[in-house]
């Protein structure tokens, strides 16, 4: 029985965090940097970025809360790793079982036609 409105299932609450975290371009930029080079310290992440150290720290906290970034301590260094599992779960939820092959072909085609500038 649901009295009013809709109750957000715990699964959806987890997904909301992922969508909110991904909605911000600076946070996506941080994920891109980890995708290119996984396991970076805060200092390494701040290099060549147009963001203050405080801003990066804040964004990383949101990404960690959404389970998109996982910190691992190595000695006194905190290394940040990109965790793609929640993104995979989101994709899986809406991609039908027979669509995957065709989607991959379309994605490849788009990449080729656009000259892989965004690859």
């Amino acid at each position: 029985m649901q009295p009013k409105g809709c109750i957000i299932e715990p699964v959806d609450a987890d997904m909301n965090k992922v969508f909110k975290a991904l909605a911000d371009p600076s946070r996506r930029q941080l994920l891109d940097r980890l995708h290119a080079n996984n396991g970076q310290t805060l200092g390494e992440l701040c290099e060549h970025l147009d963001m203050t150290r405080q801003a990066v720290t804040k964004h990383l906290a949101v990404l960690e809360e959404a389970n998109l970034v996982v910190p691992i301590w190595q000695g006194r260094e905190k290394l940040h790793y990109l965790n793609p599992v929640p993104i995979y779960e989101i994709a899986e939820r809406w991609i039908g079982k027979f669509e995957r092959g065709r989607l991959r072909v379309l994605a490849e085609l788009k990449k080729k036609l656009e000259g892989e500038t965004n690859a």
Partner: protein, 153 residues
């Protein structure tokens, strides 16, 4: 020290005991891990093999640490692709931690080698396998993508 490492975390609504079973028992792994199963006596120093449905050994290694239902560390070498086998042994760590109603599973796969082709190759599979494991334990059904061993591999 230079190394290649990937870290995966997923939260699963289950118990540490059930998750432990799902990580090592063939009737579970064959459902969410592309029809594969593992052979081991599951004690420190025991050998460990991941078997592929066509009868080949996919990967092999040794149980380095085992502490049910909390921690399992394996050495892990690919056996069916010579260029990956040549990289030698990697290290796979599973950590299981109860957090409220859920269990946090951390998977770390690493090798003391920068730019490892092996770690790159397995990194394509882990997110899918872990998402499927979560689905199996929470809904009773694994993800479609992981039900069969991929053809031609």
């Amino acid at each position: 020290m230079p190394s290649s490492r990937f870290v995966y975390v997923t939260y699963i609504r289950t118990t540490p005991e059930k998750l432990w079973q799902a990580l090592i028992e063939p009737e579970f792994t064959s459902r969410y891990w592309a029809e594969t199963w593992q052979e081991s006596e599951w004690k420190p120093g025991a050998s460990w093999r991941l078997m592929i449905p066509d009868g080949r050994v996919g990967d092999s290694g040794e149980v380095l640490e085992i502490e049910p239902p909390r921690r399992l560390v394996l050495s892990w070498r690919n056996e069916f692709r010579p260029e990956l086998r040549a990289e030698g042994y990697s290290r796979l760590t599973y950590e299981i931690e109860k957090q409220g109603e859920s269990v946090k599973l951390t998977v770390i796969h690493e090798i003391e080698k920068p730019g490892s082709k092996f770690i790159e190759a397995v990194s394509g599979g882990w997110p899918m396998i872990l998402a499927s494991l979560k689905s199996l334990l929470e809904t009773g059904e694994p993800l479609e993508e992981t039900r069969r061993w991929p053809e031609g591999i």
